[in-house]
Symmetry: C2
């Protein structure tokens, strides 16, 4: 089974990739779509290239496609990127977004290839616990939810963070795995990474008005694993 993994660099797509490798799939390409609306046309180099660093750490070629970001156009653009690849299937990490899943299902059907969404409807807490136990080094690089403040930016998701997310889930309905867009993650290391990513310089950008923020990684590098 030759597959491409839809890859954003966050915990879900990285874990789906790990699953595919453990299944014995031949992962030919990671595929990342960069979405740009007219408003976000200005595109600064340091902020968006981390998936390439991950691909390099994982040693699997990465395909980067570009889309103007309107929703239907995005599906067509992704389909176009995938249809040039000799693959039998695609693997996606989505956990709970029906909308995302339907879009990818449509593409797979139209291309006549299989779709794997291994952690569809997984239990969020158990899922997060597994990632931590398996040694995924997951960092929060974006937050957008009541209850998650600036201090969460750059924080590693460990057991303590998971306990706090559980409390926030009870108090404010923050999804434990961030599936509602409450937080975005980046994986710096995982058991199958050949090298790990080290952040050299980061900057927190916080919007007090909307109560949301991002961690910008200005400089990062790969380091051999001990």
């Amino acid at each position: 089974m030759r597959v491409a993994v839809l890859f954003s660099g966050g915990k879900d797509s990285t874990y789906a990739l790990y699953w595919a490798l453990k299944e014995g799939f031949e992962v030919r390409y990671l595929v990342t779509m960069h979405s740009e609306s007219e408003e976000s046309y200005m595109y600064h180099v340091p902020n968006v290239h981390l998936t390439e660093l991950q691909a390099r750490a994982i040693e699997i070629p990465i395909v980067k496609g570009f889309t103007k970001g309107e929703k239907e156009r995005e599906v067509e653009d992704l389909k176009r990127v995938l249809e040039g690849l000799k693959i039998d299937g695609i693997v996606a990490g989505a956990l709970a977004s029906q909308y995302q899943k339907e879009r990818v299902e449509r593409i797979a059907e139209e291309l006549g290839i299989k779709l794997f969404v291994p952690f569809w409807k997984a239990d969020p807490e158990e899922y997060m616990r597994t990632l931590i136990l398996e040694g995924f080094d997951i960092v929060i690089v974006g937050v957008s939810a009541y209850g998650l403040d600036e201090k969460w930016l750059g924080r590693k998701i460990d057991k303590k963070a998971l306990e706090e997310l559980k409390v926030l889930n009870e108090k404010y309905k923050v999804h434990i795995a961030g599936e509602g867009g409450e937080f975005e993650t980046f994986v710096r290391d995982a058991p199958f990474f050949k090298a790990k990513i080290v952040f050299d310089e980061t900057e927190k950008i916080w919007d007090a008005y909307t109560g949301s923020g991002v961690l910008i990684v200005k400089k990062a590098h790969l380091e051999p694993k001990g």
Copy 2:
């Protein structure tokens, strides 16, 4: 004719891409290989991601492969990246390197696809003149030749620069198109770019001992074309 263009971001591969588009080829992917030797294992984000910015400006998906950089391994790694693509041919911009050409010929033959090297053995001066006339915005980002000093780093190749290169060619045998590795280029804009690249922050690194240097682009962004 569905093709992939071997793309480094410099003048030759960018011009070969332009040629392929003018020929009416369907350019499905740009393909870039990143070579890393053990010594250059440390990999800093701002320095190496500019081809992605170009791909975004050109609006063609880019495939990035990784290789450990030993010469034979590199050929195998490139072949492996290409063999997963549904293409009928590859396009390369090499001008005069027999070694490079033979390697790519071997890959094309083994994959049973065509190879196009449109500017093979082109006259260097005429070739450079054409690029300037066609409106390519070419910047020198690396120099390594007697006669080329620090002032060449970041310099745009215009008619005046070309005249100076001709003088250096007569004096010191500097190849006018840099085919002997005398200088490396980066294309910020070309007629088929949908947006142009603007450098926001650069740094010159000069090694007086070897008489060579590079321009590091620390920050860059895309701008709509007027």
